[in-house]
């Protein structure tokens, strides 16, 4: 399949009412406003099981989320499906969601995590820190280029750059 034929899915998630936790949905909003062809954009508080069906309908999925201590302004990580589930919550991790997409819908979708560095989380408030806003701009510009070219290799290249950083994405 040529790059121009690939269907991309962007899922930005987090709680916009919890300061920098809203980075994921903010990125989704910015990408959606561009109305790029062959790009589907979803924003949500958290990942949900029904996203598995949506993922299976795309060739590449990018999960965008706030990162607590990751590389700034953002990093990209390749994700593989896993069977790890949490104890008791209705939220899912991206890897578990990929596992569901694989097992239930025979998904072969490539997946990447776009972790955008945030700084303030432990309060209610619908705003981003100044530095978080800058990080968001950088991440948006980067992902826009990837999506305009529909070129997954750009994500792979960034993974290699980011591979040295380990971080917590929340």
């Amino acid at each position: 399949m040529g790059a121009e034929e690939k269907r991309f899915l962007v899922i930005g998630y987090g709680n916009p009412g919890r300061l920098d936790d809203g980075l994921g949905p903010a990125l989704a909003e910015a990408i959606e406003a561009l109305a790029l062809p062959a790009v589907t954009v979803e924003a949500d508080y958290q990942l949900r099981v029904e996203d598995a069906a949506l993922i299976a309908e795309h060739d590449v999925v990018v999960f965008a989320d706030a990162s607590v201590d990751g590389e700034a302004p953002f990093y990209v990580e390749r994700l593989e499906a896993s069977a790890t589930m949490s104890f008791s919550t209705h939220s899912l991790q991206p890897k578990a969601l990929l596992g569901l997409a694989r097992d239930l819908f025979q998904s072969r979708t490539s997946a990447y995590l776009l972790g955008i560095r945030g700084y303030t989380f432990n309060a209610f408030g619908e705003r981003l820190e100044a530095q978080a806003k800058e990080n968001l701009s950088a991440a948006t510009a980067y992902l826009t280029e990837v999506l305009r070219q529909r070129d997954e290799s750009l994500l792979e290249k960034r993974c290699r750059v980011s591979a040295v950083a380990s971080s917590t994405v929340l």
Partner: protein
């Protein structure tokens, strides 16, 4: 987010209270991922379980967050509280704001649109819980390897069930989208009514799918019922205890998930109070603060904190109602109640069966509403005289949810108070965990088996452990075993 009449005390104030006891129990401060569960099992001098305590760290401060905001923003703002049941908060806030602006009766279109939204929410929430959280326990057994006992394991062994769960969840989410405007941060319900009706085209999409959904709902109910009946001997004592129950009922005593008055019954089924109007909630209920927990313990005032605690949620709702006003769910209720000779069912694991009765009920109500031409009506708003204060109760998937607001002459919120269902189930969950610990703890180590059984008991209540955060990352269950002198004998964590 659970105080009555007053804004939540600051964390520091709670901490002082916590140090007044004979032994100081340190609870982790609010963390980035709040809402994890921590269980502390206390042993007495003989090394036997004296009690087990479930600590749920929940984020507070929302009441302060909404202060100063215009009242009409609140039904949207409150959805920030919870990534799991935003629709319940959306509707509870809208109902309370109806009262604030003096609207006691909505237009038929507004009320039915809100109900459709609510049944869509209940349907998807119950389906998700059953297929993706509870069914692994039921299909593989409590003792099965955790590597298998999860939804991925269900997907491998019973792929049709796992797919059904996803598709049922998807259907409910689409109902929410059509009624609330979008799947998250819906704006559909507004003080005094609703801002859209259901178009014929939207209705027809749902009508095309609804028979399949009904079939799946019947199947899910059968799985839960057959499992419970077949394993009754094992399930009946598991984390089980007698308790009071509370839930909304319609004026005729029928189950009503959206509106009505609160009914509370005792362990024998005798009515403690009935048709309690939401505005009276503080007269009938109070909350106890315990030094070791951030979460409060609600109780029925007339009985007191010792014996006045109560359960909420599907089990309680099926117990308190006289009937269910949809035919298939009503038949299922009769079968359910026959197990306990029409006395209240106190079996903790029966929550799953009751939840599936409500799943079918929600599907039936959706069918009923989709055939109601009022949904295409254009009279969306009602008007009233501004009162400045409003209270509402709605039956969220996990149980009764209370919202209370005061609004000043500038239309700004001056006070907000919420009691969420997980708070009402706080004492019951503690009892369930204690019961399991007493039965399954052997020696001075926390075995994998004990951890599994504690997890299963807590999960029956479907507690909302992730208010206000999407909580990517493991939501750990942490269990500590503590001797009579406070020494930690063992510690286990579960992702």
């Amino acid at each position: 987010m659970t105080s009555l009449n007053t804004i939540e005390p600051k964390v520091e104030e709670r901490h002082v209270e916590a140090t007044n006891g004979t032994r100081r129990v340190v609870i982790e401060p609010v963390t980035r991922v709040e809402g994890h569960g921590k269980v502390v099992i206390h042993l007495d001098e003989k090394g036997e379980v004296s009690q087990a305590r479930l600590h749920i760290v929940e984020f507070r401060g929302f009441e302060r967050f909404v202060q100063g905001r215009p009242y009409w923003e609140v039904p949207v703002l409150v959805q920030r509280l919870c990534g799991i049941c935003p629709v319940s908060h959306h509707l509870a806030a809208a109902k309370a704001m109806d009262m604030v602006i003096g609207v006691d009766k909505l237009t038929p279109t507004a009320e039915k649109m809100r109900r459709l939204m609510h049944y869509g929410q209940t349907y998807q929430s119950h389906a998700l819980h059953f297929f993706h959280l509870a069914s692994p326990d039921l299909l593989f057994g409590f003792d099965a390897d955790v590597a298998v006992r999860n939804v991925i394991g269900v997907a491998a062994a019973h792929p049709e069930l796992a797919v059904q769960g996803v598709m049922m969840r998807k259907f409910g989410q689409e109902v929410i989208k059509a009624t609330a405007g979008k799947k998250i941060h819906g704006t559909g319900a507004i003080p005094g009514g609703i801002n859209k009706n259901l178009s014929i085209a939207e209705r027809d999409v749902f009508l095309k799918d609804i028979e399949q959904q009904m079939t799946w709902a019947r199947g899910a109910l059968k799985v839960a019922m057959d499992y419970t009946v077949a394993n009754l001997e094992k399930l009946a004592p598991f984390g089980t205890f007698e308790s009071n129950h509370a839930g909304l009922v319609a004026p005729d005593g029928a189950m009503d998930l959206y509106d009505g008055g609160l009914r509370a019954i005792d362990a024998d089924g005798n009515i403690i109070f009935d048709h309690m109007a939401p505005a009276k909630y503080a007269e009938f209920l109070a909350e106890e603060v315990r030094p070791w927990s951030y979460m409060k313990f609600p109780f029925i005032r007339s009985i007191g904190p010792e014996n006045g605690w109560y359960r909420v949620g599907p089990l309680s709702r099926v117990n308190v109602c006289n009937r269910i006003d949809t035919p298939e769910a009503e038949e299922a209720r009769k079968v359910f109640m026959a197990v306990t000779q029409n006395k209240p069912n106190h079996i903790t694991m029966a929550y799953h069966w009751a939840r599936m009765i409500e799943l079918l009920h929600s599907a039936e109500k959706i069918v009923e509403l989709l055939h109601d031409p009022d949904l295409q009506g254009s009279d969306l708003m009602a008007k009233g005289e501004f009162r400045g204060e409003g209270m509402a109760i709605i039956e969220a998937p996990r149980g009764s949810l209370f919202h209370h607001y005061r609004v000043d002459e500038n239309d700004q919120v001056t006070m907000a108070n919420l009691i969420v269902s997980t708070t009402s189930n706080n004492e019951p969950m503690n009892r369930a965990v204690s019961s399991v610990a007493k039965t399954y703890l052997s020696g001075k180590t926390i075995t994998e088996g004990l951890l599994n059984h504690i997890e299963v008991a807590i999960r029956a209540y479907d507690p909302c452990l992730s208010c206000a955060t999407h909580a990517l990352g493991q939501m750990p269950l942490v269990v500590d075993l503590v001797d009579h002198e406070g020494n930690v004998l063992d510690h286990k964590a579960k992702g």
